[in-house]
């Protein structure tokens, strides 16, 4: 089943006195592999969180689901600090997100099979007994990806999922994302690696408080634009 198309119309966000985003206008096609690029602090994560309904934004965001039925959204948040003090293993965490039955009781067979499959896909099977507090950055990112696979997502929102991954992990994630996308999942991917974006993305939106550019990767991610994005980045870090 193909994922949703997303239409964003005149999206703006003001928090306190700060204009975070303004006048954003773009569409993402159903089943696209779409990347958000742009400088740090330009509002990529914030835009994604607006789409997920977590921000008090103005403007219109419309999801065009297949058959009009709201599907599943998988979300891989930016690498977060996980609870360090709770005795919660990878397995426990996966059970928490997979079922309503309390996670301290044993999971149903079907649930367990889904967890097994998801952990296997991200290469965490051997580490499933480890506590969340003891995981490395890359392991945490793998776990965050694994949870987004249950249930199988129609829309997958990824927020820089690869920052702490080793080479093998990065290849694995790339493969997984392409696999899901080829099955019809709409992928919305916040990505800093412009070479990877150029190689994989169908369409991109360049965001720096406004939409700087939007369109197919080939026409949008030109040398000028890349220099522009990096230029903005350098200016910011200098300031």
């Amino acid at each position: 089943m193909p994922g949703p198309a997303i239409h964003v119309d005149n999206l703006s966000l003001q928090l306190g006195a700060h204009h975070i985003l303004s006048g954003m206008q773009f569409s993402i096609a159903a089943g696209a592999l779409h990347c958000f690029v742009g400088p740090n602090g330009g509002g990529k994560t914030t835009t994604a969180r607006c789409l997920l309904g977590q921000m008090p934004h103005k403007g219109n965001i419309r999801f065009e689901w297949n058959d009009g039925v709201k599907g599943t959204i998988g979300y891989v948040p930016q690498l977060i600090e996980m609870e360090r003090t709770l005795p919660l293993t990878i397995d426990n965490f996966m059970t928490v997100i997979s079922q309503d039955k309390p996670a301290f009781m044993s999971p149903k067979k079907t649930v367990k099979a889904a967890i097994d499959r998801a952990l296997e896909r991200v290469g965490l099977t051997a580490k499933r007994g480890l506590m969340l507090g003891s995981l490395s950055g890359g392991e945490r990112q793998r776990l965050l990806f694994a949870q987004a696979l249950i249930p199988n997502p129609d829309l997958l929102v990824l927020d820089e999922p690869m920052t702490s991954l080793d080479e093998g992990g990065a290849r694995l994630f790339e493969q997984l994302i392409l696999e899901l996308n080829s099955e019809g999942t709409t992928v919305l991917w916040i990505n800093h690696d412009l070479a990877q974006v150029a190689r994989l993305a169908h369409t991109i939106t360049v965001i720096d408080k406004v939409v700087l550019a939007h369109g197919s990767t080939a026409t949008t991610l030109t040398g000028d634009m890349q220099r522009g994005v990096f230029h903005a980045q350098t200016n910011r870090s200098a300031a």
């Binding site: 969180r49 997920l52 309904g53 977590q54 959204i73 998988g74 979300y75 948040p77 977060i80 996980m82 609870e83 003090t85 709770l86 005795p87 919660l88 293993t89 397995d91 426990n92 965490f93 059970t95 928490v96 997100i97 079922q99 309503d100 039955k101 309390p102 996670a103 301290f104 009781m105 044993s106 007994g129 506590m131 965050l144 949870q147 929102v157």
Partner: protein
């Protein structure tokens, strides 16, 4: 229910008469208190793991203190001073909901805000209770703050039972959602969890439980039994399952022991105090085990 309680008490009395059980089972209030403790232990143990996960220990302390005000109001409006449940439930619920409502609406960290509420509830509660206890019965203050098993009635047991059933029916199906909401609210929201609504549900449950346990453990110490067994279990457990079950066992043992030990050896301490001291003993024990047994070794910093 009363018929069941009577039957149980009579059976235990008969057993105690015949020498099969220790002589303390001959007393009605002991049986009542022990019945309560086998309900309270697992209940507080299970909820305690969530309190620890959500870092809300001081929230429940504030609710416990608010119960003092509830008792005082109850006495002032003419409720029975041994069971002013209407006032306690209404005031504590109001207090908990206002606190939770205020939390996202100030630019303070949670501990600052809870600290403010905690102090208010203790100051108002203690002042009011002292004021009314001078008029009615000076023992109110002691028993409300630290628990008293002498006055546990069938009504108290029914209240506790109803609260336990509500917690099981409402709380268990929401356990995972509550946990995810505290681990990562943003992720929880995407996964269809109404984080704020669930927070209110949890607040209401904690409030109900706190009020229902005030009789046995006392307003000041309810929070301790929510917190200490979970902290003790945390020392030794590495999975959620062992954490929850160990906490339940430790909380239950603390309750039963805290009631039984002072009775058996005639030690004049309030039940709440004894229960919490026993729980603290378990905490110290598990802390020592954690530091001595090589299997628990971990990074110092």
């Amino acid at each position: 229910m009363t018929a069941f309680y009577t039957w149980l008490r009579e059976t235990l009395m008969a057993l105690s008469d015949s020498g099969a059980l220790p002589s303390i089972f001959y007393y009605e209030f002991v049986v009542n208190a022990l019945l309560c403790s086998i309900v309270i232990g697992p209940l507080l143990g299970c909820v305690g793991t969530m309190i620890v996960a959500k870092r809300m220990a001081f929230f429940s302390q504030a609710i416990g203190n608010a119960a003092l005000t509830g008792v005082a109001i109850g006495v002032l409006i003419g409720e029975s001073y041994t069971a002013p449940y209407v006032s306690m439930f209404s005031f504590c619920l109001l207090f908990g909901i206002v606190l939770n409502y205020t939390k996202p609406r100030t630019r303070m960290s949670a501990d600052t805000l809870i600290g403010v509420f905690l102090s208010i509830s203790l100051a108002v509660g203690a002042s009011l209770v002292l004021y009314v206890s001078a008029r009615v019965n000076t023992h109110i203050l002691e028993s409300v703050m630290f628990g008293s098993i002498l006055t546990v009635s069938d009504l108290d047991m029914n209240v506790l039972l109803v609260v336990t059933i509500i917690t099981l029916v409402v709380g268990l199906p929401l356990y995972n959602k509550m946990l995810l909401g505290s681990l990562n609210p943003s992720l929880a929201q995407v996964r269809g969890v109404n984080v704020q609504a669930i927070e209110y549900v949890f607040i209401v449950l904690v409030t109900l439980i706190t009020v229902a346990c005030v009789k046995i453990i006392g307003a000041v110490l309810v929070e301790a039994l929510l917190l200490i067994p979970a902290a003790a279990a945390r020392n030794l457990c590495r999975t959620l399952r062992s954490f929850v079950y160990t906490t339940m066992v430790l909380a239950t043992l603390s309750c039963i022991g805290g009631i039984w030990i002072p009775m058996q050896w005639d030690i004049p301490v309030p039940s709440g105090g004894a229960i919490v001291i026993l729980a603290a003993f378990f905490f110290i024990l598990t802390t020592i085990i954690r530091n001595v047994v090589p299997g628990f070794r971990e990074a110092k910093l």
